[in-house]
Amino acid sequence: MLEIIASPISFFILLELFLIGAAGSLVLRKNDASANVWSSFFAIAGSLWGLLFASAILISGQALSFVAGTSPFPLLSLAMHIDMLSALFIFIISLIALFCSIYGIGYVKHFYKKYNIGTLGFFYHLFIAGMVLVVTASNGIFFLIAWEIMSVASYFLVVYDRNDENNVKAGFLYLVMTHVGTAFIIAAFLLLYKYTGSFDFEVIKSAVTFIPSSIKNTIFVLSMVGFGVKAGIIPFHIWLPAAHPAAPSHISALMSGVMIKTGVFMMMRLFLDILQPAPVWWGLVVLFVGATSSLLGVLYALTEHDIKRLLAYHSIENIGIILLGLGSALTFSSLGMLPLALLSLVAALFHTVNHAIFKSLLFLSAGSVINQMHTRNMEEYGGLIKYMPHTAFFFLIGSMAISALPPFNGFFSEWLTFQSLFQGIIALDSSARWVFILAAGALAFTGGLALTCFVKAFGATFLARPRSAEVSHAKESSFPLLAAMGALAALSLLFGLFSGPVTLFLETIGKSFSIFQSAPSLLSLPRGHVLTVGSGFASVSGLAFLVLFTVAIFIVVWIIRSAINKKQKIKIGATWDCGTDLTSRMEITATGFARSIVLIFKGVLKPSIQHEIEYHDAETRYMPKSRTVILGVRDVHQAYFYRPLHKVVATLAEQTKNIQSGNINTYISYIFIALLIVLFATL
């Protein structure tokens, strides 16, 4: 039974389900409701089948390698290789796609009559199918085709809500950036082809010794930039905060939770699998990139008051944390410390899974809020917890998970990342040690700042009094939305409670890498729930924490309620208002909440403040009629990196334009000279 499910035929069924979903949605595009039903049904069916398939491969432990058919082109072979890492990613894709599709059943209803649901379903299925192909393709050109399908499908999804001009601009930026990244990836693959003679990943892996080390370093830099654009590392992240908010919410969840992980997947595949053995500085560079991305990501998130942009910046932060794990794994494996490398890889994989879960949860709940409020601006929210209590609860769970509070899953993957960094500080010597110390410092600050940011996000959105009239029209989300969010929240808790077994399982996936085949394990699970690193260096138990906490809170509540406080009454009054009337302007805003931190980090964030005053009498200037304060944060990356780059490219283009004289004779003389040069060169 297991062999039947973990077979190529089963994989084709998986792809077919998505393709049927795509085709059917397009056919049914005239009727909104039936397109939605068809598309959701096949998405859910496909995701469930994907979960089944991935679980079968993970349990059986056998990698699948097959060719999907002959292609007419010599360099392109439709080769697929599904090993444990690919199966894990298929699992993550299917899991998140399942819940996003369930969410979509209810969410897509608010696009009825405005846009074409059929095309939404078409691109949605194409997007998921593209992602599945990306993690399973084993030939460079096939991989690039799948990568393009994924990027182009997601472009159309980003610009789906095309009435808003900002969305179209965001989509364009996304398209340009993703193709810039793809150009770097193509360059890396071409270099690999030149020195190993093939585009097939398996062949490249066995022929990697033919690549000279300078070329290998170039390939590292090119693929770091190329896959980094997709993953959203600083400074190539500028498309993320624009594109993720523009897409419909369940698509944002998919993009943020899964699509950017495909960049990390390929980095793992290339650096830890194909291009081994690697020099030490690769790992240190990845660590550095991870540390800056995580710290800067969370700082930028603190400056945002658009709720989806805030979540997008947190995705950048969490990718940074995943890269911290990956970087340590690379460093340790280059220095031959394989058990530590395996530990770091497990930390990175665990954080990938966890982030997918809690980030999708956060995006879905943010989407429900935006659905009701019709604006993404957090400054117009407030008091929503009374109107949307369940959504608020799920958002709270997501916030606790992403801020790494026990017993939710985020804590355990950050704990593992910390452990791998601590081991690095112990085991390494001077220069690498300093990078690890700084990385651990970045991670420590990131945790605290993320907590601050989510207090701000949750507090400004759901607590206190409403800041705009629209809040009173908000209603609780419909059942499919609540079901999807609830399931993800439950998964968040479960992955935290069962972090021990999950970590050990991820370790077997880590061991499937050829360099880790015989590495001894540092992780152990005595008593079934205490995750231990080393032989007692560190240990944690999620289950114990939850149990202790629940018992403590019950005892406290019982004692207080029954033994001490029997006759007391609770009176409901008004918040202390110093004698004036309470207005919504008295409560703290999201911008005000974060302003202290923004000012503390003003060297990095470069905040600006402008005052404008309008007086009753412009000449005497005594009594102001109105005062405006404009707070801003300067976009450092645009100013110092992209704009100069753009200026150089534009100047070059302007000068190159002079070739185009508009004169046919000059054009023909160009042809003639080119002909002469070619003749001379080849003969």
Binding site: S661, G662, N663, I664, N665, F672, L676, L679, L683
Partner: protein
Amino acid sequence: MLTLQFFLGVVFGTIIFLHLTKKNFGVALAYALQSLAITAILLGSFFETGNISLLFIALLVFIVKVILAPLFFIKLIQKHRLLFSVSTYLNIPLTLIIIAILSFVANSHKLAPLTGIIPANHTLLSLALSSMFLSLFLIINRKGALSQIMGILSFENSIVAFTIFAGLEQSPALQLGIIFNIFIWLIIATVFMSMIYKHFGSLDITSMKHLKD
């Protein structure tokens, strides 16, 4: 052999004449003469190989290139009243110097692999190659639309000569392809010339620089 060289010399000479002439009428006549020489070469090839299809092709070339095309151009000239061709970019002495350089390049050692495909026909091939280069130079040098078309057509003739002497022309499909090409070219040329004339009022293609932004 000598006759072939003679005919090829005619082709070469007509191209040089095309560079130097100022009257359009003479241009059309020179083209007719060139095509006549090509037909003669094709007939010579027929006599050599005995391929009957070559005879048909030679006849076809004669009809289209020697009679129809020049007539067409003369009609165009009379319709638009272009008796004089517009000027060139480079003056006559400089043109002749460049012609000499190009012929020298075509005959040079560097291009020997190209012209040495059939060692016996080496001089013929280098003559054909220099005809090609000169036709290209004609297109570059002249400003009138008619001269451009002439340049392309004589370029084609040079290619035909080159392929015959390089032993590559044996398939009639190639020749038919070239004839078909000429038809298409005539259509394009008419459209092009009438559009330029309608829009700019003259056939000087440098006036197209007003289209640049």
